[in-house]
């Protein structure tokens, strides 16, 4: 088996402050409930640092070359593990709950409770890092732990999540799949002794592969990882993300076929634009339901975690008992992952009253299952609730307005997107996920409308997204796209000043340039080069040049070979900052007219703008 780390022999300190560049923040208990040995990476030893430096010297392009090959390999491995994970869940389900669980079966009462008890024991004793969904843990691995996810975490996630989901607890397999994928990537990258920078990048690549395999929808997986895990658009990893996601999806399709987890019913294109009103209603209701779900989870999770440690053994069991009771007393549909129930709802097997009941019962079941600390994800329950909500709204509207052309299945699909956008706050992923699953672009108009309404309404009612809430509760402060949406980033144009310094030509003499500079009392002047580029020369540099050159010599003999960077007004303001140690003044060019200067920027201008951002 692969070792956890090439330096696994080194005793891990368990202190986040030991990881270079990371400020000491959360303790392990708060963060992941994990002891140092499994949750956090060992601190980079001097030997490792030296090895990395050696590799960088003797094979500087090695990491880059391995990167793409490993992306494919990670994709394949993740795909295989996710297929095995899904099969394991199904086996556990059949063996524990039987092949046809239905209301009134006694085993529905005790099986989820026993599963909860076993899972709790495994998590507390052996796999503390397996707790929770896996999305935030992967994100933490990327931003805090240099991409480190231990082998034990991967094994623990696989086993405990399979037991919990197969045993009937109301959670999903996608987030664990994401973490398993990220874990596989982390292990492979460590095995190959890649640089720390590459190690970090592999976690999201593996996450995309795992999620693509779980969803059977690679584009959605890539978008989700970009929107939620990486938190920003990064061209550096995009190629590898795509390769990993596609290769894992190929594996899954080879085993499970091209259909998603449920069969997609017939989808009719929108015949009458007025029908968009019906979808808008769905978006509105979804926009109200999503913050309620977040609120429940955000309220209950820290309170259950604050309970004495011994209760951690019982919490998943009690959650299991509650979920089992719901199943026993008439709604076994809420138990487990629930893909087949989504399938049934999409194919019109439930009346809208039942669908409404399933929305709220699943919400309760998922809230207790998740907040009890049981390993498992939020994706499948979100899809479930969204599908039931969409189906209910669709069936209700079709009952009273039979002329609507949208099928109940269409409403289910849009409902899934609605809750995904509203609850998980991933609007792009929500749209692409539904499009990818349905394979039908005629749904796009109602989908975008409903998702946008749900996203905006949910965001206005509950400004912080669910994963961010969990991060804050764990004492982590991880970047997110949600944050970026809130930011009003400054641009160069916000600090841009008119050209108030002299401009000279490259052919002008040192004497004339010095005279102009002295006359204007400026600290620097701009020199226009024959090729249209610019050079910014300070008075000190001019003085130094004047000491060695004749006063009648052309100024271009005095200047160095580099040129002022080409900056434009729409670029982020911070992109100008690192140029100031070299250049006293930065010319800001016009995108429409090459060589023309729109204004200038000095360090004082930038700092002044940051001091007064309004």
């Amino acid at each position: 088996m692969m070792p956890d780390s090439p330096t696994s022999s080194a005793a891990p300190t368990g202190n986040i402050a030991d990881v270079p560049g990371v400020a000491p923040a959360p303790t392990h208990d708060v963060l992941l409930g994990a002891p140092p040995s499994s949750a956090t990476p060992p601190a980079p030893s001097p030997a490792r640092t030296s090895l990395a430096a050696t590799i960088d010297k003797i094979a500087p392009t090695r990491d880059e070359r391995l990167f793409l090959v490993l992306s494919i390999l990670i994709g394949v491995l993740s795909g295989l593990l996710v297929v095995a994970f899904r099969m394991a869940i199904e086996w556990v389900k059949i063996l524990s709950l039987g092949s046809a669980p239905h209301a009134g079966q006694y085993r529905l009462f005790f099986v989820p409770a026993i599963a909860g008890l076993v899972v709790a024991a495994l998590v507390v004793w052996f796999f503390p890092a397996a707790r929770g969904s896996g999305v935030n843990q992967t994100k933490a691995a990327l931003y805090v732990y240099d991409g480190y996810i231990s082998f034990r975490t991967v094994i623990g996630k696989f086993l405990t999540a399979a037991l919990a989901l197969g045993g009937g607890l109301s959670l999903g397999p996608e987030d664990p799949s994401l973490q398993i994928g990220a874990g596989v990537a982390s292990i492979v990258a460590r095995k190959l002794r890649l640089s720390r920078r590459r190690l970090r990048m592999f976690a999201p690549i593996g996450a995309a592969a795992g999620l693509a395999a779980a969803f059977n929808a690679p584009i959605s997986a890539i978008l989700f990882v970009i929107e939620e895990v990486i938190g920003s658009w990064s061209a550096a990893v995009l190629g590898s993300l795509v390769l990993a996601a596609i290769s894992s999806d190929v594996v899954v399709r080879w085993f499970l076929g091209s259909e998603p987890m449920f069969r997609i019913p017939a989808i009719h294109s929108l015949r009458d634009p007025r029908e968009l009103m019906a979808y808008a209603v769905l978006g509105f209701i979804g926009g109200l339901l999503a913050p309620l779900f977040s609120l429940l989870l955000g309220y209950l999770r820290p309170r259950l975690r604050a309970l004495p440690r011994w209760t951690q053994y019982l919490q998943p069991a009690i959650a299991g008992l509650l979920v089992g009771s719901i199943g026993y007393f008439g709604f076994p549909e809420v138990m487990g992952v629930g893909y087949h129930v989504i399938d049934q709802a999409m194919h019109g097997q439930f009346v809208w009253q039942i669908l409404i009941a399933l929305v709220f019962l699943k919400l309760v079941a998922t809230t207790v299952s998740f907040t009890s600390g049981t390993p498992g994800g939020m994706f499948a329950p979100t899809l479930f609730i969204g599908a039931m909500l969409g189906g209910a709204v669709g069936a209700f509207e079709k009952h009273f307005f039979p002329g609507l052309s949208g099928t109940v299945g269409t409403y289910c699909l849009v409902g899934m997107g609605v809750l995904f956008a509203g609850f998980l706050r991933v609007p792009l992923t929500s749209v692409f996920m539904v499009l990818e699953m349905s394979g039908n672009s005629s749904i796009i108009l109602p989908l975008i409308l409903a998702n946008t309404i749900a996203f905006l309404l949910s965001r206005s009612l509950q400004p912080v997204g669910i994963f961010e809430i969990f991060s804050h509760q764990d004492g982590l402060d991880l970047p997110s796209m949600e944050e970026q949406r809130e930011e009003s980033a400054l641009h160069i144009e916000d600090a841009l000043q008119p050209v108030n310094i002299p401009i000279a030509r490259a052919a002008d003499t040192l004497k004339s340039v010095s005279a102009i500079l002295a006359e204007s009392h400026a600290k620097a002047c701009l020199i226009r080069m024959p090729d249209g580029s610019w050079y910014s020369i300070s008075s000190d540099e001019l003085t130094t040049a004047a000491a060695t050159l004749s006063p009648d010599a052309a100024i271009q003999l005095a200047i160095k070979s580099d040129r002022a960077p080409q900056l434009f007004p729409d670029m982020p303001l911070d992109s100008a900052l690192h140029h100031f140690p070299r250049w006293p003044v930065l010319p800001i060019s016009n995108r429409a007219s090459r060589g023309a200067v729109e204004g200038v920027l000095t360090l004082e201008d930038v700092l002044g703008r940051y001091r007064n951002p309004e």
Partner: protein, 432 residues
């Protein structure tokens, strides 16, 4: 010293380290590849084992559901079929599940399910038929007819011809139940024209045509089937009954006689047997009473005079006041005095009492009375046989008397009842 591609000069130790790194990377990649193969095999094993088990479970649950459905226990079939669908989703099972839902009385669920199935195959005849039945069940006549029509126009997996005929007959039955006889008749005539040479189907169509009021078409079908070698009993008895209903008593007597002579007649319920026998007796008696145009003039006149006597007696009985009203002029009825007196003497003797009762007599009867008074005083066989016009007038008066007295005084009995039956369509009595 060697210059590296990046421009850095490598020492011999570094070159050695580089070679080692390449070898190490190659081994690492190979070991990763080997691990991937091992994981692939394990996954394949897990996958195959689960899929085989899943298939097994799906087949088992579907068989259970189908058995429950066959045994008429749809409520039991529903969870079984649902489970089967979770393991092997296929359209046939979906339709079976929806059918079970419908059969279990879960109309709303069944409708929703069938509607969803229909969306993926709008032209599916079976689904349209099921939706038609559900619409009929909830009383949505317009939708039911629409769905039946869609089922007729839809596609069927094999035996489309037979399926469509069945749907058409079901639609006709539904229309009959809603008293839409004209529409039902249209469907039945189409079904009949497309029906194969199957006596059972023909007899069923004929029976439904009788319900739709198209007795002529029904009789034609019955007679056509009855003309076959070894005709079915249902066709013969059906022809007899239909002919009787149409007033074709000659035909009725013929078919009913044949039918009642068959052993199958004894298997009919007693009430039906009695009814058929009564019809046969009535038909035979009508043929005795009826003054057929083909009879010799004298025999015909004798029958007319006999009928005249019966009709007049019926009129006087009808015009007489109730027995309980002792002060009433109708308290002493001529018929009570001399029930078998000749019409002429009765006519003369009753005039005074009838005139007294005129004020309380319905105008239809008064008009009849006037017509009776206008007849010649003495009507004989000879008179009638020589005067066809008079014969026709008397016959018409007899029929009108039976008809009007039935309207005023209620249905008659005995030969008067038979005369009334003749009066309804005298031309049909001897029709073939």
């Amino acid at each position: 010293m060697t210059k590296h591609q990046s421009g850095t000069v490598l020492t011999p130790e570094e070159r050695l380290a580089r070679r080692r790194l390449i070898v190490r990377d190659a081994i690492s990649l190979l070991s990763l590849f080997f691990i991937t193969v091992v994981i692939f095999l394990l996954t394949l094993l897990l996958y195959r084992s689960f899929k085989n088990h899943e298939q097994l479970l799906g087949v088992r649950w579907r068989a259970r559901g189908e058995r429950a459905l066959r045994l008429g226990r749809p409520a039991e079939a529903i969870p079984d079929l649902r489970t089967a669908l979770a393991y092997i989703p296929d359209r046939t099972t979906e339709i079976e599940l929806a059918t079970a839902l419908a059969a279990a009385g879960r109309t709303v669920e069944a409708t929703a399910y069938f509607n969803t199935l229909l969306q993926s195959a709008p032209g599916d005849g079976m689904i349209n038929l099921q939706l038609a039945r559900l619409a009929a069940r909830v009383g949505n006549q317009k939708l039911a007819v629409f769905r039946y029509q869609a089922a007729l126009d839809g596609t069927w997996n094999g035996h489309g011809y037979a399926h469509r005929r069945q749907v058409r007959l079901e639609l006709a039955g539904y229309l009959l139940s809603r008293n839409l006889n004209s529409q039902a008749r249209t469907q039945l005539l189409i079904a009949e024209s497309n029906a194969p040479d199957d006596p059972a189907i023909k007899i069923r169509i004929a029976g439904m045509l009788v319900q739709a009021g198209d007795l002529q078409s029904a009789l034609e079908i019955y007679r056509a089937v009855s003309a076959r070698r070894n005709p079915p009993f249902e066709a013969i008895v059906g022809a007899g009954r239909t002919a009787y209903s149409m007033g074709k008593y000659r035909v009725a007597a013929d078919y009913l006689g044949r039918a009642l002579a068959q052993p199958a007649a004894r298997k009919l319920p007693a009430a039906e047997q009695a009814a058929d026998r009564t019809m046969l007796n009535n038909a035979n008696r009508i043929l005795i009473l009826f003054p057929d145009i083909n009879l010799p003039a004298r025999a015909r006149a004798e029958r007319i005079l006999g009928a005249k006597k019966l009709a007049f007696l019926r009129l006087t009985t009808c015009m007489a006041p109730p027995v309980t009203a002792s002060t009433s002029p109708r308290s002493v009825l001529p018929s009570q005095k001399a029930p078998f007196a000749s019409p002429a003497s009765l006519q003369a003797g009753a005039n005074s009492s009838l005139s007294a009762a005129l004020t309380a007599t319905p105008p239809q009867l008064t008009a009849l009375q006037t017509r009776w008074n206008q007849l010649p005083r003495r009507l004989t066989v000879w008179n009638l046989a020589r005067q066809p016009d008079l014969e026709q007038t008397v016959l018409q008066l007899i029929y009108d008397t039976e008809t009007i007295t039935a309207q005023v005084c209620g249905p008659p009995t005995g030969d008067n009842a038979l005369l009334l039956q003749i009066a309804k369509n005298p031309a049909a009595v001897e029709q073939e």
